[in-house]
């Protein structure tokens, strides 16, 4: 999840969406058959009364990667993520988890996947109001049939992990919103899932708590490396948490890429409108703006930054140093140069 940790592109996809469609209405299959690529979702809604919530979405999420889907309200994010665990069934398409199509599974097999591989964190927390914190956290293990003592022990560890030590005997309504979502997080982590789906988990929290929770998540992810799909409508959050970010609009992915790719090369005006105010210093790396070394340049004694260093982290150095700064790759070899001017230009998106 930290920008430094990007899963190796050669690992096979942990989750793969293939041409996922979801249409709401009375006869979604029929509408889907008759639909032509030129028709917009608004036209379809007007003509048939059917809502195309997800429209032919394909993507891969690699193991250990955090894949963020960012879009405005009503763009179909929740519907998409709910298709990934079949809380709603896609109208067409395939959801492959470790290469196995979720849509082909029988009820019992699906349940097994949900119990052992997946966990979900919800926007409105989805806690069980009648259960104490500890029993909420232990729920996933309980339905799996784990023995009482064992699951409570595990739940206690998770509660501690999310910083709620001492709250295990309280009921959800006795907790603040931020604390409730920590319970939601602990509940998801308690089952030790391979995949965690987050549907706007922090949107209901106020900005300070939200930041705190984001940092918390980054901290946890730095050690756990869960494969995550994270839904948000907040572009800054997407940049902060995502290894890769998909921008969703009207049920379709407009652009998928690393935060840096999005900021540097927005595919269209829609994406550009979001990236305009992005904190570029946190997103763009030195490697992205470096210029090749002029022939005969002597790097000895010159200050250097790593290729994957963010501009923010280069600022102090370029400010203090009048000449060019070397950019070195992981092996330490000289890759290029940056200087005060190029960094400043990149920061103001000139």
């Amino acid at each position: 999840m930290t920008p430094g940790h990007t899963a190796n592109a050669s690992t096979p996809a942990k989750i793969a969406g293939r041409d996922i469609w979801k249409i709401f209405g009375r006869t979604p299959e029929r509408v889907l058959e008759r639909l032509t690529p030129e028709q917009t979702s608004a036209q379809i809604l007007e003509q048939t009364g059917h809502m195309v919530a997800v429209r032919q979405v394909s993507f891969d999420v690699r193991a250990g990667e955090t894949f963020v889907v960012m879009g405005l309200s009503g763009s179909g994010k929740s519907t998409l993520v709910r298709c990934l665990c079949r809380l709603t069934d896609p109208t067409r398409g395939a959801v492959l988890i470790d290469g196995q199509d979720l849509l082909q599974l029988a009820e019992a097999e699906l349940r097994a996947v949900r119990r052992h591989k997946l966990a979900m964190v919800f926007q409105n927390f989805g806690l069980f109001p009648h259960r104490r914190v500890i029993d909420n956290v232990a729920y996933g293990l309980e339905v799996r049939g784990v023995k009482r003592a064992e699951r409570l022990e595990r739940a206690r560890q998770m509660i501690e992990l999310v910083g709620l030590r001492g709250w295990d005997q309280h009921f959800p309504k006795q907790l603040s919103g931020g604390m409730q979502q920590r319970v939601g997080l602990a509940r998801a982590l308690a089952v030790d899932p391979e995949i965690v789906l987050f549907d706007e988990p922090f949107s209901a929290l106020d900005p300070l708590i939200r930041r705190e929770m984001q940092d918390e998540l980054l901290r946890l992810q730095a050690t756990m490396h869960k494969t995550s799909v994270f839904i948000t409508h907040d572009f800054a959050e997407a940049l902060k948490l995502g290894d890769r970010v998909a921008i969703m609009r009207n049920g379709q992915f407009v652009q998928v890429g690393t935060p840096e790719e999005l900021v540097l090369n927005p595919a269209n005006d829609y994406v550009a409108a979001f990236t305009k105010d992005a904190p570029r210093g946190k997103v763009v790396s030195a490697a992205a703006i470096m210029t090749p070394c002029p022939p005969g340049f002597d790097p000895d004694g010159q200050p250097a930054v790593r290729a994957d260093a963010r501009l923010e982290d280069c600022l102090a150095l370029v400010a203090a140093h009048d000449g060019p700064v070397c950019v070195r790759d992981e092996a330490g070899a000289l890759a290029g140069l940056v200087d005060r001017l190029s960094v400043m230009k990149a920061l103001i998106a000139a």
Binding site: L87, V113, R114, H130, G140, V143
Partner: protein, 688 residues
């Protein structure tokens, strides 16, 4: 008042005068119809009676050999009988202080000090009345009937929540079960479960189970979707979903269903006694037959006490968090009457008590190595308390309520009734004789008799049928016209025409008097909080005390005849009229009232011009409720001289002339359904 276009809009003048034209036409028909053919033709009687009676004798004669009885109904009723006996024996074998203590403890756990007093004192009072045994018999019947209702209602409610199909299929059945006068199924139930007190249990069960089903289904359907979704996402099976999430979250609604079921069952106590239930209901009935006002009042009060205690306890159950019982018991805030300087002492004492009370659970938790038991300190203590009571009984042999402790209400009550009879029945005021006797005569001579002759002799049957159809059409359109006409016509086919017309005339007079009392009271109560606060407990009392209890003094004061039943029905039916009128007027939007004030309307003008018209739909619903309650009293009225359909039904029941009872019962249902639909349509029309 505007007339809603029925099929297609009529021209305005037609719309306006059509009702009058219909009325005029009906009168014309009445005038030309031959006077000797006013009664419904006897030849058209369907003659249901004979085959039903034959069927009944056949069933009784061959009971042992008919498979349905042999292998289903008889074992089932044996089972219920055993359960009832067991519950009764258990309760009667419990030492009286055990019952009192349990009542007090449950009251304390579920509602605090006041409910503890109520739960502890009520059994003592019934014991003082000498009604210990009947009260416990009734309680046993309640436990079995309500227990069965829960056992049947809960799964049905779960099914109805899970499937729209089941829900759609159940809904009309439940509606029917609740609107149908109980007498209708008393007879078949008697036939099918003819052993001892079982029919009473089954009839109570049928009457009481609908709210259990409805509220369970409602509660389950309203469980918050996020929690459900989360449970699904973690891979719960449907069963796990139901047991771990849906049912616990629906618990308050389910408990409200139990509460409603208990209240419905309680309202059946006396009627169940008619078919052999025993207990308090029988006490009321017997005292009634012997005109022992005081004894009937005592038994009635015992029923009211039982009703209040069970109501409050079950209501408390729907509020309480079972895991929090310990806290409910152990965190008593200092009462308000305590002087401030005593508060620290109180709190210290409470702390000590709390620690002491937590000990048994802690000890048990340590013993069994199950720390979660500590949470259930309240339950553990309850169990210990019960154990202690049993021990006390074994040591001191407490037994049943002491014979020598008696405190009766009957002598003063009887004396009061006698005094009233001597002093109120007839009062000579100069040349005028007033009092309840003359009042009764007046109502009979000038209201009941003329109306009865109107329906039985003056108005020929086709006019009544067409009149009902016209009323139905005016209130609810073509289909209702058909239903109303057919309903009344069918009463004729059952051969119940004269009885039905007699009953109808009584119902109309009762409704007139009820409305004249209830509606002004409702308006007054809506304008004045003091009036409302005064009326509320009175109305609640009127609704819970078994109607039979008013009958006795009323009979003594008004003579046997149609009037006592009428008065009992008025008393019974007033409550919803007052409540719904009050509610409707208070519910009129504040802006409308303010607008009226802004235009300088006086309070009376606002009331008459804005509030009452806007509240009319609610008031009409009150009228509908009143009609249904008056109809529920038809049978009771029939028993005390009201004759009509009620008497027919009772006679069919007690003389076990099933056919006759069934015909009368069906006629009551037809009357009820017709009047219910017409008033409801009328109310709905005002709303729309």
């Amino acid at each position: 008042m505007t007339t809603r276009p029925l099929a297609r809009p009529w021209p305005a003048p037609l719309q306006r005068y059509a009702p009058w034209a219909v009325v005029a036409g009906l009168f014309a028909l009445a005038a030309v119809w031959p006077a000797d053919a006013a009664q419904f033709p006897a030849a058209w009687n369907l003659g249901l009676r004979a085959p039903i009676d034959e069927f009944q004798s056949a069933v009784i004669a061959n009971r042992e050999t008919i498979p349905v009885f042999q292998y289903f109904f008889d074992p089932l009723s044996d089972l219920i009988d055993v359960g009832l006996r067991w519950a009764e024996d258990f309760l009667l074998a419990t030492p009286w202080i055990g019952v009192v203590g349990t009542g007090a403890l449950l009251g304390y756990l579920l509602g605090g000090t006041r409910l503890a007093l109520l739960g502890g004192l009520s059994p003592v009072i019934t014991g003082l009345f000498g009604l210990w045994e009947p009260t416990l018999q009734t309680l046993a019947l309640m436990i079995v009937a309500v227990g069965l209702a829960v056992l049947i209602g809960l799964p049905l409610g779960v099914l109805a929540a899970a499937s729209d199909r089941v829900d759609r299929a159940l809904r009309p059945v439940l509606d029917g079960m609740q609107t149908m006068p109980t007498f209708v199924y008393l007879i078949p139930v008697l036939l099918v479960f003819g052993i001892a007190r079982v029919p009473a249990v089954v009839a109570t069960l049928i009457y009481a189970v609908p709210p259990m089903i409805r509220l369970t289904s409602l509660g389950l359907r309203e469980v918050s979707p996020p929690a459900l979704e989360a449970a699904r996402a973690f891979g719960s099976t449907r069963w796990q979903l139901l047991v771990k999430v849906q049912l616990p979250l629906a618990l308050p609604a389910i408990m409200a269903g139990v509460n409603q079921t208990i209240m419905m069952a309680l309202s059946m106590i006396v009627i169940a006694a008619l078919i052999g239930a025993g207990g308090l209901g029988r006490e009321v009935l017997v005292s009634l037959q012997r005109l022992q006002v005081g004894k009937a009042l005592e038994a009635g009060l015992a029923i009211v006490l039982l009703a209040i205690v069970l109501d409050r306890l079950s209501e408390g159950l729907s509020r309480i968090d079972l895991t929090d019982l310990g806290r409910a018991l152990l965190a008593p805030a200092a009462p308000r009457w305590l002087p401030a300087r005593w508060e620290p002492a109180w709190l210290a004492a409470a702390r000590v008590l709390r620690r002491a009370a937590a000990m048994p659970a802690q000890w048990l938790a340590a013993l069994t190595r199950r720390p979660e038991i500590e949470r259930y300190a309240g339950l553990v203590n309850l169990g210990l308390a019960v154990l202690a009571l049993v021990l006390v009984d074994l040591l001191f042999n407490v037994g049943t309520f002491p014979e020598s402790w008696r405190w009766y209400l009957r002598q003063p009550t009887d004396a009061l009734v006698l005094w009233l009879r001597d002093n109120v029945f007839e009062i000579q005021l100069g040349a005028l004789t007033v009092g309840t006797g003359p009042l009764s005569d007046f109502v009979t001579l000038y209201l009941l008799n003329p109306l009865r002759s109107l329906f039985t002799t003056f108005l020929p049957w086709p006019v009544v049928v067409l009149g009902a159809a016209a009323l139905g059409g005016w209130a609810g359109g073509g289909r209702l016209a058909l239903l109303a006409g057919a309903g009344v016509f069918a009463i004729g086919l059952l051969g119940m025409w004269p009885f039905a017309m007699d009953t109808l005339s009584q119902i109309l007079v009762t409704m007139l008097i009820t409305c004249l009392i209830a509606l002004p009271l409702g308006v007054w109560s809506s304008q004045n909080n003091a009036v409302r606060d005064f009326l509320r407990p009175v109305l609640d009392f009127l609704q819970t005390i078994p109607s039979f209890v008013f009958l006795v003094p009323v009979i003594m004061l008004f003579n046997i005849g149609r009037v006592p039943g009428l008065i009992a029905a008025v008393l019974y039916a007033i409550a919803p009229g007052v409540k719904l009128t009050d509610l409707g007027i208070r519910g009129v939007a504040g802006e409308a009232v303010e607008a009226a004030h802004a235009f300088g309307a006086t309070r009376a003008q606002t009331l008459a011009g804005v509030q009452v018209p806007m509240a009319l739909a609610s008031i009409l619903l009150g009228v509908n409720q009143m009609i249904m309650m008056v109809l529920a009293m038809v049978v009771i009225a029939g028993m005390v001289g009201g004759a009509g359909l009620g008497l027919e039904a009772v006679n069919g029941l007690v003389r076990s002339e099933t056919g006759r009872g069934l015909e009368a019962g069906l006629a009551i249902v037809l009357l009820a359904v017709t009047m219910d639909r017409i008033t409801q349509a009328w109310a709905a029309r005002r709303q729309g």
